[in-house]
């Protein structure tokens, strides 16, 4: 089953030592396989280590225990095969929208005019036409996130790693962005790993949802969530609502546990 998987996480544990205090076991024995072109959501209470796992796949944190393979090769450092969209956008504040989008294209072999054209087409795609020369500080939260997504998509990574990318957005923008992301994924099929703590978002976006337990993070359940996402009434459909309820049940237990351990 794992033979044609694009990302294979095998028995990964992760410990870290906060600046003050005892060592924390953030992830314990996590295994997860993600197929080529699959959209998987990583769902769990805050502090369960889901972002940690994403950063390990991204190559930002070292894999000490267990292994992570991407396209059959162990993850060394970060690289442009895995595009990352961070929770707080991580746009370069000293660069304009266009310069930000161009940044990821600078190291491709494309000629300059081609890069310009590509940057513009992704800016247009995320609806930021006319804001090419704006600095991030001049944009709203939703616009910043769209710029960040355009920047990541522009250099065409095969894998998209998204860390609660819509967490900081208002409900309306968030819903628009979710539909937009699904459109993009359908048009340019990529493997997506999407971290969130929002059950409805996970069920709506992903084909499979990995539910994580409270710290130390483990994969508690893997749930199939394939629906017809183009159905405008999907949120009211019984199948959808039941699925959300089912997963809610799993997450709620963990959220309560996480709460309790934080109070100690």
């Amino acid at each position: 089953m794992t033979s044609d998987a694009q990302i294979v996480v095998d028995q990964v544990s992760h410990r870290y030592r906060p600046p003050s205090g005892r060592e924390v076991l953030a992830l314990e024995d996590v295994s997860l396989s993600i197929q080529n072109r699959e959209f998987v959501a990583l769902l769990g209470p805050s502090g369960c280590g889901k972002s940690t796992l994403l950063y390990m796949i991204g190559g930002f944190l070292p894999v000490v225990a267990g292994s992570i393979l991407v396209d059959g090769k162990p993850v060394g450092g970060p690289g442009p095969d895995r595009g990352v969209v961070f929770q707080h956008f991580a746009l370069f504040p000293w660069k304009t929208v266009k310069a930000n989008v161009l940044y990821g294209l600078e190291r491709t072999q494309l000629p300059r005019s081609e890069r310009e054209q590509r940057a513009q087409s992704y800016i247009d795609m995320v609806g930021l036409t006319g804001f090419e020369d704006s600095y991030p500080s001049q944009l709203s939260g939703g616009m910043k996130q769209r710029a960040a997504i355009a920047r990541t998509l522009a250099f065409n990574p095969q894998i998209l790693l998204m860390d609660e990318p819509f967490g900081a957005l208002d409900a309306q923008t968030r819903s628009l962005m979710q539909s937009e992301l699904l459109n993009i994924w359908r048009r340019t099929p990529k493997t997506v790993l999407f971290v969130t703590h929002d059950v409805q978002e996970a069920v709506f976006l992903a084909e499979r949802v990995a539910v994580m337990s409270a710290r130390p993070g483990q994969i508690k359940a893997l749930i199939d969530t394939k629906f017809d996402k183009t159905d405008p009434h999907i949120f009211k459909s019984k199948a959808f609502v039941d699925k959300v309820d089912e997963i809610w049940g799993l997450v709620r237990d963990e959220a309560v546990k996480a709460q309790a351990s934080r109070r100690q």
Binding site: F60, P78, H88, Y103, S137, L139
Partner: protein, 251 residues
């Protein structure tokens, strides 16, 4: 224009008060010559070429010392923030050197490099480098982890990432450090010339004071003050422009 007038009105009031005090001889006119007399002395210094002849070496020393300090200080500060060995090697030196009054080093630099430009440039370089190092270090350390990660994940090498992310992140603190260094350059320039030099604005102030030409002495002091003020204003303008991306907050 009107705003500037209001902003600098305290200076205007001070000038009027100065003129009145010396006009009615409330203090002796040697201690505080009337501004009109100082203005006359300034014109004399200018037409005789005395002022320009001394300003040129001063500005040369200040400029070269400051530029060297900016160059070396920025590189050292950023290197300290990103490579531990550099921090281990240089950190303690900076800490010990920082509180030393740099003017105490004037005789030392003179022993090393003599009475000419070299000793002044070295002193200004050493003194100005510290605020630049500290600004660059603090700024570089404040660069956000996600921006560093972001650049790396888009294929930037480590060195490239330093240039693309750490340097611009350090810029606000670094530019403030350079502003402090700019003021310090003027202080060290005049002090060093006042103590040991054959020419320069500081030297001219000392010479005119010793000869009792107080109006002319004041003229040079005010010239130095104006040069320092103008340099700071121009610098602030450039700094504002360089950091424009930061100040365009969403409305």
């Amino acid at each position: 224009m009107k705003a500037a007038l209001i902003r600098y009105s305290p200076l205007l009031i001070l000038a009027v008060a100065w003129q009145l005090i010396s006009h009615f001889e409330l203090v002796s006119s040697t201690a505080l010559p009337p501004l009109t007399q100082i203005g006359g002395a300034w014109l004399d210094l200018l037409t005789s070429g005395e002022l320009e002849k001394n300003a040129a070496p001063s500005l040369y020393r200040g400029g070269v010392g400051l530029l060297l300090a900016i160059g070396f200080g920025s590189v050292l500060g950023i290197a300290m923030a990103w490579w531990r060995p550099v921090n281990v090697a240089i950190g303690p030196l900076v800490e010990v050197f920082y509180p030393i009054p740099k003017s105490a080093l004037i005789p030392v630099t003179v022993i090393w490099l003599g009475f000419g430009d070299g000793s002044k440039i070295l002193l200004i370089f050493l003194g100005c480098m510290l605020p630049v190092i500290i600004g660059a270090f603090n700024g570089a350390r404040s660069s956000e982890q996600v921006l560093v990660w972001s650049a790396r994940s888009m294929g930037a090498s480590r060195l490239r990432m330093i240039w693309d992310v750490v340097v611009p992140s350090a810029l606000p603190d670094l530019l403030n450090g350079i502003r402090t260094a700019l003021a310090l350059a003027f202080i060290l320039m005049v002090t060093s010339e006042l103590i040991v030099a054959r020419e320069g604005l500081g030297n001219l102030i000392g010479f005119l004071g010793a000869n009792g030409s107080y109006a002319a002495m004041y003229a040079v002091v005010l010239t130095v003050a104006f040069l320092g003020f103008a340099a700071d204003r121009i610098y602030q303008l450039l700094m504002h422009r360089a950091l424009a991306w930061r100040e365009t907050a969403a409305t």
